[in-house]
């Protein structure tokens, strides 16, 4: 597994280095809103739902043949569940952060449609803080995944500008995952070693243990100075089975002012 992961990293690096053509460089500043759903069997069998403030930035460079993208995404909000026959509303704080790198290379093109394929390295961290649960309040997942990416881009004319509509999908292949231990509680008798407990339950994940689908639809409208206005919708779903299963989904709508260097 580790050798395959290393091979994957090397392949992406080689592709990135080989794309030595002149490129345009951009930094997006994205703000928006996201809607989250989760069932985390570590803390509750109940379905939690809620919304979060979304912020994202990063860097991407592109030319006619390739796109290299890094991203930093943050989501902060609350999720809650309404237990059906008790009138209880249980609430949890939600935090989601992701740092990633992706590379896409043109594989096929026509006059208006271009197809890309490549890989990515994604590092999402998800946190749910359910203060009602005392010692088990902190529930989290961290994954470091190497995966395959694909995208299709269609250009069309709007308001005398060439607008790009891009659909991208990412699927992890090799992943390393972190979750709370089976009990969901730290050894509070050994508080000097709490950080060890946090990282205790981590492992390489075989295919099938961690499933993730990440799709993004992005519309890019160029301004006269080369900057972009972008409107994006992202759907993300993941399922992690070891220890206690967690299934979570996110819908995110962001608006971006993207600056060209």
């Amino acid at each position: 597994m580790r050798r395959l992961a290393l091979l994957w990293v090397c392949s992406i690096c080689w592709l990135a280095v080989s794309a030595g053509e002149p490129r345009d460089h951009f930094t997006p500043l994205k703000l928006g809103w996201s809607y989250h759903k989760a069932i985390d069997q570590g803390m509750s069998p109940l379905l939690y739902r809620g919304s979060a403030f979304a912020f994202s930035t990063g860097y991407f460079s592109q030319n006619d043949r390739s796109v290299l993208e890094t991203n930093l995404d943050l989501h902060l909000g609350t999720i809650s569940t309404r237990a059906s026959n008790e009138g209880l509303t249980n609430r949890a704080y939600i935090g989601r952060a992701e740092i990633g790198v992706g590379y896409l290379r043109l594989v096929k093109s026509s006059e208006t449609v271009r197809w890309f394929a490549g890989g990515h390295w994604a590092n999402p961290f998800n946190f749910r803080g359910n203060l009602r649960l005392g010692n088990s309040a902190a529930n989290y997942e961290f994954f470091s995944s190497l995966g395959a990416s694909g995208a299709v881009q269609r250009d069309f004319e709007f308001n005398n500008r060439t607008v790009a509509l891009t659909f991208r999908v990412r699927l992890p292949l090799f992943s390393y995952g972190l979750r709370p231990n089976y009990s969901g509680a730290f050894d509070i008798n050994d508080q000097a070693e709490i950080q060890r407990d946090v990282f205790d339950n981590r492992k390489w994940l075989p295919i099938g243990a961690f499933t993730r689908i990440n799709t993004r639809l992005m519309c890019s409208y160029p301004l006269k100075n080369g900057n972009l206005l972008q409107l994006g919708y992202e759907w993300d779903f993941y399922s992690y089975r070891p220890t206690h299963q967690v299934n979570a989904a996110m819908h995110s709508l962001v608006f971006s002012r993207t600056f060209k260097w």
Partner: protein, 333 residues
């Protein structure tokens, strides 16, 4: 090609299928809630073997009273009775109208403490209040009363109090009726009673749903801090010393220069963790075991080095028999 591209635009509709991926809201009816509670305890509770509880047999006795007609209140008290079969003060069930608890660990034992006796006849309002500590000099011995481990005990408070009594014959730390809180407070106090890094306990965590799924014993060490208190130390305990206070007594049991006096502590050696049930209630239960370095499981309490009970006649006359015994132990009478 163009047609195929439009087909890909349909892919975001995958999102509409996510309900199938994530799963539905679980059934919150009485039978489902009872089953979820029993299962959570079955898979995560750490003391079945230690307490000799046959959880399957317990279920068979209670599940017959649960059916689709069972009301919320009846469900709660049936579940509470089932949980109390574990006889664990760390096991609770929270609902909007009540929370269940087990207090048999002290209720069936002598109280062995009266704050009124201490306040009226020993402190008499002269005590100093340093952080959460009440303390006063009694017969050339420092008497320090710490009522709750939930009250943060800072290093400066400890150092001030112990520094004050360093010049006298010894100190009595009274943690009777201290029902617990944050174990760090007791550990911070015990750090002044040791001169070297000390193996104080081993913790065994539940690591899976099986009855045998436990981690290997994880040794916990405590480093000395502050100024070492080099005079005799007596710690007073009773059956109401629970959870974090039980941990403090466990550490004191390991330290050769500390004498435990009074009654066996109330126990509560497991780390409590909480989980939600399908109807939104929360269950708390012990998910670990705490062992002394010699392997003794402190779930049932830490026995004192010197067993002393309050004498009812003396108590009626304003005398705390355990405190008097501790004074005698230090002063040598």
């Amino acid at each position: 090609m163009v047609k195929r591209w439009y087909i890909l635009l349909v892919l975001p509709l995958l999102a509409s299928c996510e309900r199938a991926f994530i799963g539905p809201q679980p059934d919150a009816e009485a039978e489902a809630t009872f089953d979820a509670l029993w299962t959570v305890v079955d898979e995560r509770y750490a003391f079945f073997e230690y307490k000799g509880v046959n959880w399957d047999e317990v279920r068979s006795r209670y599940e017959s009273s649960i059916n689709s007609e069972t009301g919320t209140v009846d469900l709660f008290y049936t579940c509470a009775d089932m949980l109390n079969e574990l006889e664990d003060g760390h096991v609770n069930l929270w609902s909007p109208f009540d929370y269940s608890r087990y207090d048999g660990f002290y209720r069936n034992s002598p109280q062995n403490f009266s704050y009124t006796v201490i306040d009226r006849n020993y402190l008499q309002g002269n005590q100093l209040l340093t952080g959460p500590l009440q303390h006063y000099l009694i017969d050339s011995v420092g008497y320090v009363y710490y009522p709750s481990m939930s009250s943060t005990l800072g290093a400066s408070s400890i150092d001030f109090v112990l520094g004050l009594y360093q010049q006298y014959k010894g100190v009595i730390i009274d943690v009777r009726d201290n029902g617990g809180g944050n174990p760090e407070n007791g550990f911070r106090l015990a750090q002044r009673f040791m001169q070297e890094r000390t193996h104080i306990m081993d913790v065994v965590m539940k690591t899976g749903p099986g009855a045998e799924d436990f981690s290997a014993p994880d040794p916990v060490f405590l480093e000395p801090a502050g100024t070492f208190f080099d005079k005799p130390i007596v710690v007073l305990t009773n059956r109401s010393c629970f959870s974090a206070t039980n941990d403090f007594a466990s550490v004191c049991k390991v330290l050769p220069n500390v004498t435990l006096m009074g009654d066996t502590t109330g126990g509560g050696g497991g780390i409590p963790a909480e989980y939600e049930l399908p109807n939104g209630w929360v269950v708390r239960l012990s998910v670990s075991q705490t062992l002394l370095p010699d392997g003794f499981n402190v779930e049932g309490g830490v026995p004192p080095d010197i067993q002393v009970d309050m004498d009812a006649t003396e108590e009626a006359n304003g005398i705390d028999s355990i405190l008097e015994a501790a004074l005698g132990e230090i002063v040598g009478e």
